[in-house]
């Protein structure tokens, strides 16, 4: 005889059309499996009623519609438990009834079946590029997810941010190219198959471009040459904030995208690699007045979107609408979403697209103390997550150096990109700026009491030229995007090295390769956190297209044959990463003090010119060198070797005097981009001793890196 009594809170209390119901719990929002049934909970500040719409999986028409009984409603939350649902085989949506009065912001339409904003899994677009049935009554279909993945003891890695080397990648683009050789191309499983490559490169964080469910068909443009419809390949347009992109899963057509993504995270973690998600909270896929009604517009338009006084959509994102992130309800949704990804998917951090928008008030004005950013910074579940802002938006707010940080936020340092690029191509007047960038941009961050780790350093990102294109094109070539080359940035600070585009000229090609090495060397010896974009380590090209968001072709995929074509560049990058990992002096958390505070006889950082201890800061100077004193590494707590780096961006070679080391130490050559591979970089610890310890010859447009021990 059992001594336990069945819980009374799992018994039905109501019936509707053969379905057994009871009042639900308002928390958590969304659909949650509970004993014997499913708890549905959805809120709307302005709807008068709500109906749960149930479909058999893939069925064109609903199999049932169950109005939420008014006596189940708590505040503005519609909630109920429906018992005995075959949760593996159903899809659900909502109909919301309420006023349609766009002038005051209401766009209710009970003829539409709406996606749950908290849907954990979304069907309907399970296979990438497979055209949907546009007449379907329900495009993006919410499904139920059991939270019982077997993590086998995994947990987010919590790699200190100063030790991170970030690799930005597109899940599909990473392995979709036929040359990838993986079994499941273009998928989460495909990324997992390439983990050995990532490990050998040495990166320890992958930053995935958007993987929240989006609609790749959200693009009306046509390729001007082929006539094919262009896609939204990048995915910066969210359909569902809680659901992984199903078409990125090889198992998506079986509805197993959640398992497949979690397996990828678990496998990356097992190999010492963290996962950061690029998250897009600034707008949704619903566009403006002309866009489709998928979810938010029909559930609570006036709450979710920033609206003009006439009820039109503000467009700070450049994509039609702007999510109303500092509305308390939307703010909570963003928090719920990030907590869900951190807790359920073991995600290690987030990079926020156009994050400056998150600091605007509901009328668009920048807030001094934005509640959303503060909430995220102090949240206990997100406490160990890396938070990275793209500190600008399409509405003209540029906050690099001034983004509200609360001691937690790092940011994409656009000024690092711009300064290093201009120095690299030989612009005058750049040595002062570059000296700041190399130090982790104290000019931008120390005033706000932010450390060097606030600066995510990058020279290239998904948005803009690839590294190879940056040294091969003066101008963007975006004709294939179908906008007459008007889209994409015109401020690229790029230099083609003497010829626009591909060339057989061996001198130009050698210079381009050297410039790529120069760029990557500068990135990897700078204080702050380096970020490399997928494929730059093997000279991936987009043929001069600096805005390839719409191309699901080999223009934007990683061509793995480049790994065999450019082993020298790949070897150089992986050695520079290994060198960075070997030297804590390159990974300081605090800014330099420009003094000797440990009594070593050397300042923590010192600047040098062609004469030691005599840097040339004049406008026409294109040479600068710096010496890091190993005894000051990590504030003097972690003894390291001495490191000397000379950056000659002049077109002429220079004979350079190098500073003396303490008695008993000698300079060894780690890298010289002017030398031919494989002598352009050495394995850390195996660097050859420099013959002449007083003078060196630094080639034209070259970087040399020495280690003193």
């Amino acid at each position: 005889m059992s001594l336990t009594v069945d819980r009374i809170d799992i018994q039905p209390t109501h019936n509707y059309g053969g379905f057994r119901l009871r009042p639900g719990r308002p928390f958590p929002f969304g659909a949650t499996l509970v004993p014997g049934g499913v708890n549905f909970s959805v809120f709307s500040s302005h709807a008068v009623s709500c109906t749960l719409v149930l479909f058999d999986k893939h069925a064109p028409q609903p199999m049932a519609e169950i109005p939420f009984p008014d006596e189940f409603r708590i505040g503005n939350v519609f909630t109920m438990v429906v018992f005995d649902l075959d949760y593996e085989n159903i899809e659900y949506g909502f109909r919301m009834d309420g006023p349609f009065d766009p002038r005051v912001g209401h766009r209710f339409d009970k003829t539409k079946v709406l996606l749950d904003p908290y849907a954990k899994s979304i069907g309907g677009r399970d296979v990438w590029g497979q055209a949907p049935n546009w007449d379907d009554v329900y495009w993006h279909r919410a499904r139920l997810v059991p939270d019982d993945f077997d993590w086998e003891g995994d947990r987010p890695l919590e790699i200190p941010i100063q030790d991170a080397v970030i690799y930005e990648m597109h899940v599909r683009g990473f392995t979709q190219h036929p040359s990838s050789g993986v079994k499941y191309r273009g998928t989460y499983a495909g990324v997992a198959a390439k983990i050995p490559y990532l490990k050998s490169l040495g990166v320890n964080v992958v930053e995935l471009m958007p993987i929240f469910e989006f609609d790749e068909f959200e693009n009306s443009r046509i390729h001007p040459d082929t006539g094919e419809q262009l896609l939204n390949y990048w995915g910066y347009s969210t359909v569902g904030f809680f659901a992984p992109k199903a078409a990125y899963a090889a198992s998506g057509k079986f509805g197993m995208q959640v398992d497949e993504l979690k397996t990828l995270v678990k496998s990356l973690h097992a190999n010492g690699i963290e996962v950061i998600l690029d998250v897009v909270f600034n707008h949704t896929a619903e566009g403006n007045e002309m866009g489709p009604t998928i979810s938010f517009r029909g559930i609570d338009n006036r709450t979710y979107y920033m609206l003009t006084p006439d009820g039109y959509y503000f467009n700070f994102s450049g994509t039609g609408n702007t999510l109303n992130c500092n509305n308390p309800i939307v703010r909570n949704m963003v928090l719920d979403c990030l907590r869900y990804w951190a807790a359920e998917y073991h995600i290690d951090g987030f990079r926020f697209d156009l994050a400056a928008i998150l600091g605007r008030d509901p009328w668009g004005a920048p807030l001094a103390n934005p509640p959303l950013l503060e909430t995220l910074a102090f949240d206990p579940i997100l406490a160990k997550c890396k938070l990275i802002a793209e500190a600008w938006d399409a509405g003209g707010l540029y906050q690099v150096g001034s983004f509200p940080a609360y001691g937690r936020w790092a940011e994409w340092n656009g000024k690092f990109r711009d300064g290093i690029r201009r120095f690299l191509k030989g612009d005058s007047g750049m040595v002062g700026d570059v000296s700041q960038r190399i130090q982790g941009s104290p000019d931008l961050y120390s005033g706000g009491n932010r450390d060097a780790t606030a600066s995510i350093n990058f020279i290239t990102a998904h948005d803009g030229f690839t590294l190879a294109d940056m040294v091969s094109y003066n101008d963007k070539h975006n004709e294939a995007n179908g906008e007459g080359n008007r889209d994409g940035s015109n401020d690229n600070d790029s230099w083609n090295c003497g010829w626009e585009g591909p060339t057989d000229d061996p001198e130009i090609n050698a210079l381009r390769k050297r410039q790529m090495k120069n760029a990557l060397a500068m990135l990897l010896v700078s204080q702050g956190i380096p970020m490399i974009v997928m494929g730059d380590e093997v000279a991936r090209t987009q043929h001069g297209n600096n805005n390839a968001y719409c191309h699901d072709t080999d223009l934007s995929w990683f061509d793995w044959s480049l790994v065999d074509q450019n082993p020298d560049l790949l070897g150089f990058v992986s050695r520079c990463i290994a060198f960075r990992k070997a030297h804590p002096a390159l990974r300081n958390t605090t800014h330099f003090r420009n003094t000797d505070y440990v009594g070593s006889g050397y300042p923590d950082i010192s600047w040098h010119g062609v004469q030691a201890w005599n840097a040339d800061w004049s406008a026409e100077s294109r040479f600068i060198a710096f010496l890091l004193c190993g005894k000051h590494a990590r504030g003097g707590t972690t003894p390291d070797n001495y490191i000397y780096v000379a950056l000659n961006m002049h077109w002429d070679a220079q004979t350079v005097e190098i500073p003396r080391l303490p008695e008993g130490m000698a300079w060894h050559v780690f890298a010289n981009t002017g030398a031919a591979s494989p002598e352009d970089a050495w394995e850390p610890g195996q660097e050859p001793r420099l013959e002449d310890q007083r003078h060196i010859f630094v080639g034209p447009r070259s970087v040399v890196i020495f280690v003193g021990r």
Partner: protein
């Protein structure tokens, strides 16, 4: 094809034979078998799946359940998986948690 499941334990080896399509409807029966054989504390679980045509998420969850129920020391063998079933195990990463073999000789146990 309808889902069927049978189980037995002999010499410390639990054998469960699955056939047909293992979806949410069939998963409870599979789970029941797992619970039944695990009560005899086997040292190994052998899943004969030569005639299993399809495995859905619900079926995979029973696999996880088996592992958790029997403990990490109990090896799980998946024998003779058809391509689609093996594919599903690989894509979702479950293939790393089990030992996939084409044939299993009971005498070698």
């Amino acid at each position: 094809m309808a889902f069927t499941v049978n189980g037995s334990v002999a010499n410390g080896v639990a054998t469960i034979t699955l056939s047909g399509e293992l979806d949410a409807a069939g998963a409870p029966a599979f789970r029941e078998q797992v619970e039944k054989v695990s009560s005899e504390s086997p040292k190994r679980l052998v899943l004969m799946v030569q005639d299993l045509e399809y495995i859905a998420s619900a079926g995979l969850r029973v696999l996880i359940f088996s592992k958790q129920k029997m403990g990490a020391a109990v090896d799980i063998y998946v024998v003779g998986a058809q391509e689609q079933v093996q594919d599903t195990l690989e894509k979702t990463g479950f293939s790393k948690s089990v030992i996939s073999v084409e044939r299993y000789d009971v005498a070698s146990a």
